[in-house]
């Protein structure tokens, strides 16, 4: 078994990053001009990395499968971005953000990476404001903050319910500026279908032009995968339709270890499934838990309408179970609590697989507050309602509109129905402190890597990590590798390795087209999703996981003999693109179950029913499982486990409590 070297710098935790930056090898400006970097993916991590590296003088190529880099799914992040600015004077600090993130991750993240993340968090806000990102502000003109789950300070910066959109458009602007200056070459509607390695180092990619179907070879001295998470393995998730694991999975098959694949985040506040036709799930921002109260009826199978159930017959179960954090417990805990109530027969709505998120109390509270402000001494109920609704509209209007659009119900009048849904994947390609995978020259940034969130990510931390990796980490850490590459000239893509890689990609596409089976791709994707949701979702068991692995293997065989792909290989063919992605999901799903089965403990988003405390909380086993599980691909259905031991030198590891 090889020992994984995370390359964590020596020294005190708080000094590691500063020392690293002062001692890492530099590449002089003249040499940067002859070094080429490929960036795959154009979300927060990809766009910020590409723009920053191009500003430094590197030659950058950016690839995205969408028609524009601005479409990347970071755009859909709603609630906000954390930063340890302590603008609210409420006791925040770099250490507290670090501590909250490690604890929120249920003590399964790497200390040094998380501390670095907290250190650079403030610079992200500065950078975004300088770019013209219109964050929410107070009347005095300064930036506004709100709270998110798993914290007791207000450190979340936001732009209404569209924070991800505004941050991505900021990074996209910076990227397009470099495109305009000729420092970045953009390849839209291109999908990366393999990494090319030469003598053990990543040297380029094979990409397919989705419009013409042509395969292209691209050289790079380094390749950065900024390709997001793999939540769509569950078929239904809050991810975009096109979000996929293909780039990361191809890298995995070329030698990059895949870490903690079973760590999946199921977000507690999503709009429930309405029927079999459903193609995706929609998140209702966690920020709604700032003011909304979550409840179910105290009576099982209560068929009354929400507004007909009197106050004393409602069970505000999060406030009851977790008085210290109440409705703002971390996501994994809120999701499991909702599942527990619904499984026990207290669920609401037609499917009974939903709980209420109620704004009635907040509307009255805000209404009374407005009456006070306006010196109204005896406001009528109608006046309170009207003023309260106006405040809620200002804060959450776009989310309420979206809910109404999708469900046809008005959340200002009746409580929203919500249920957990797959949202984010903490697992991803294993990377060292420099964000390099186990393949030299191949990096993973943002959600595509595993490094910062442990077994559960806190709200408003994904945007922080994506931008930290791209703006403030990779521009430094890539020097450690590229400084030794300055003597490597750009390589011809006519070499044997490139030609062979392209041929393998072509063969696979032709094999898929030639199956000519009977079932569309979606049929297999839905079946995989159901297996994953039932057995590798919010609750997992040894028995269920063992059965799932067999089922998935059988489904893989069925897919490769019976999938039906229409159209042509050399034209725009969305079904062919989907087929390639689902084929990879089928292999990843198997590895996720293997990883979940191997981890005989519960932690964060990974909940094994055999390992829980008496009151149903996750029961960790720090003695045996305080490690990162990094899986090596060793052939079809064969994966070797490597362990990176997690050492906590600055935090006392404890049972996580939000009570």
């Amino acid at each position: 078994m090889t020992k994984l070297d995370a390359k964590i710098p020596e020294g005190n935790l708080a000094e590691k990053w500063t020392k690293f930056r002062s001692s890492v090898s530099l590449v002089n400006p003249a040499n940067k001009r002859s070094l080429e970097i490929i960036v795959v993916g154009s979300g927060l991590a990809g766009a910020s990395a590409a723009a920053s590296l191009a500003e430094l003088g590197y030659k950058v190529k950016v690839f995205c499968f969408q028609d524009s880099p601005r479409r990347a799914h970071s755009i859909a992040a709603q609630g906000g971005i954390n930063a340890a600015k302590n603008y609210q004077n409420d006791g925040d600090s770099v250490y507290r953000l670090f501590y909250d993130t490690i604890k929120g991750g249920d003590y399964r993240a790497r200390e040094a990476n998380v501390h670095r993340l907290a250190e650079v968090s403030g610079s992200i806000i500065d950078q975004c404001v300088a770019q013209g990102v219109p964050f929410a502000r107070e009347y005095g003109g300064l930036l506004s903050n709100r709270s998110f789950g798993g914290t007791q300070v207000q450190r979340t910066f936001y732009a209404a319910g569209q924070t991800g959109q505004q941050l991505l458009l900021g990074a996209y602007s910076a990227l397009q500026r470099q495109v305009g200056m000729g420092n970045v070459k953009l390849y839209t509607r291109h999908e990366m279908l393999d990494v090319v390695t030469i003598e053990g180092k990543a040297r380029g990619i094979i990409a397919r032009d989705s419009v013409t179907g042509a395969l292209e070879r691209h050289f790079g001295h380094a390749v950065l995968l900024c390709t997001g998470g793999y939540g769509n393995v569950f078929y239904l998730s809050t991810n975009a339709m096109g979000s996929n694991v293909t780039a990361a999975w191809k890298a995995h098959k070329k030698g990059a270890f895949f870490a903690n694949p079973c760590y999946t985040q199921i977000h507690p506040t999503c709009i429930p499934v309405s029927g079999d036709h459903q193609s995706k799930l929609t998140l209702m921002s966690e920020s709604l838990r700032n003011d909304g109260r979550i409840w179910v009826p105290k009576k099982q199978n209560d068929t009354r309408k929400a507004n007909e159930i009197p106050e004393d017959e409602r069970d505000y179960y999060l406030e009851r179970r977790y008085p210290a954090f109440g409705n703002l417990v971390p996501r994994d805990i809120a999701s499991r609590a909702a599942k527990e109530r619904c499984d026990a027969g207290y669920g609401v709505g037609a499917s009974k697989m939903a709980v209420y998120l109620d704004y009635a109390a907040a509307i009255i509270r805000y209404g009374k507050g407005e009456a006070n402000k306006n010196n109204m001494h005896n406001p009528s109920d109608e006046e309170i309602q009207a003023m309260g609704k106006a405040v809620v509209k200002e804060k959450y209007g776009n989310l309420f509109d979206m809910y109404k659009q999708i469900t046809g119900e008005d959340p200002y009048e009746v409580p929203m129905r919500i249920y957990p849904a797959v949202h984010y994947t903490m697992g991803g390609l294993w990377v060292d402190y420099n964000l390099m995978t186990t393949v030299p020259g191949l990096y993973a940034l943002g959600e595509a890597n595993f490094s910062d969130h442990g077994a559960n990510r806190l709200g408003a931390s994904a945007l922080m990590q994506g931008l930290a990796d791209g703006y403030f980490v990779i521009p430094y850490t890539i020097g450690a590798y590229l400084a030794s590459e300055i003597r490597t000239p750009a390589m011809s893509t006519d070499s044997e390795d490139f030609v062979a890689a392209e041929k393998a990609v072509r063969d696979r596409l032709e094999t898929l087209m030639n199956i000519k089976g009977t079932k569309p791709v979606d049929y297999f994707h839905k079946r995989l999703g159901k297996i994953m949701w039932d057995e590798c979702g919010m609750a997992r068991s040894e028995e269920g996981l063992k059965a799932s692995i067999k089922e998935i293997q059988a489904l893989q065989k069925e897919f490769w003999s019976d999938v039906k792909i229409p159209g042509e290989i050399d034209n725009l063919n969305p079904e062919l693109e989907k087929a390639g992605r689902v084929a990879d999901f089928l292999e990843l799903g198997e590895l996720m179950c293997i990883d979940a089965l191997d981890r005989n403990e519960s932690c964060g988003g990974h909940f094994r029913t055999e390992y829980q405390t008496e009151d149903g909380e996750a029961l960790r086993d720090d003695e045996n499982y305080a490690y990162v599980a990094a899986w090596e691909f060793a052939g079809p259905s064969k994966f070797n486990l490597h362990k990176e031991e997690l050492k906590y030198e600055n935090i006392k590891i404890a049972q996580r409590s939000y009570k």
Binding site: S52, A72, P134, G140, G141, Q405, P566
Partner: protein, 252 residues
């Protein structure tokens, strides 16, 4: 509450940019009113695949109204009959049983058709690349709160920044003008102190690129504002014109 619809669809089919296209008619039945418009197209496509036909190609990604990728021209209106929503957020409860629905791609010479309902909108990326940014490199920024911005200005900039770059404004315009899109970015940055230093240069560069891409002129009809799924205001065009003309008059 959920109901079911039987519908006739007239959909534009076009193999690629070099082939002429035409409408094809399809019947779909048992469509749940809880479905989104795109999920209804999914149902049609899975049937076409099973029958051995080529499914309808269309752009879509986030399906929650924010990425700006979906782009259907439905019954003569971009993103369909409802105001303030994208096609992915349009639900079938907005249609009647037995209705005939016509679906076309965005029509504009600066948005050439790639296949069926998919068009090429990379001209928008080039307009942004011409000047839709603040020229600040990573690492140059001062502390964020050193630059107070009046809430009203910040809110107005945010309203302009809400543009999702879908191109509905161009599709709605009889001249296929991109003024609303271009002006939204110019306005956002001109309203903020960070963007003021290069406001004139930005307006000139972006307008020049817009013209070069072949978008039409603005004749103040206002269809763009009416059809914009994010409610981007026509005032942005007035602001852009101010920036542009002041830049032109003061240019050396």
């Amino acid at each position: 509450m959920e109901g079911h619809l039987n519908l006739t669809l007239k959909i534009w089919r076009q193999k690629n940019a070099n082939t002429a296209g035409k409408f094809e008619t399809y019947q779909v039945s048992g469509i749940s009113t809880d479905m989104s418009f795109l999920e209804m197209i999914d149902v049609l496509n899975n049937r076409l695949i099973e029958e051995g036909d080529d499914p309808v190609a269309f752009d879509h990604d986030c399906r929650e109204g924010i990425c700006g990728m979906c782009s259907m021209y439905i019954n003569g209106r971009p993103h369909g009959p409802n105001r303030g929503v994208t096609t992915c957020q349009l639900h079938m409860r907005s249609f009647q049983d037995g209705e005939t629905i016509t679906v076309e791609p965005w029509r504009a010479s600066a948005f050439p058709v790639i296949k069926d309902l998919v068009v090429n909108r990379s001209s928008f990326d080039r307009i942004i690349a011409a000047g839709g940014f603040v020229s600040v490199n990573t690492g140059n920024a001062q502390d964020a709160n050193n630059l107070p911005i009046a809430k009203d200005d910040a809110d107005e900039a945010f309203a302009a920044a809400a543009c999702i770059g879908c191109g509905a404004c161009v599709a709605a315009c009889k001249n296929a003008s991109a003024m609303l899109f271009t002006s939204a970015k110019i306005s956002q940055l001109a309203l903020l102190p960070q963007g003021k230093a290069e406001a004139s240069k930005r307006a000139q560069a972006m307008v020049a690129q817009m013209d070069e891409e072949g978008f039409g002129a603005c004749s103040n009809t206002g269809a763009c504002e009416a059809e914009c799924p994010k409610g981007i205001s026509l005032e942005n065009i007035a602001r852009m014109n101010r920036e542009y003309f002041s830049a032109t008059f003061s240019s050396k």
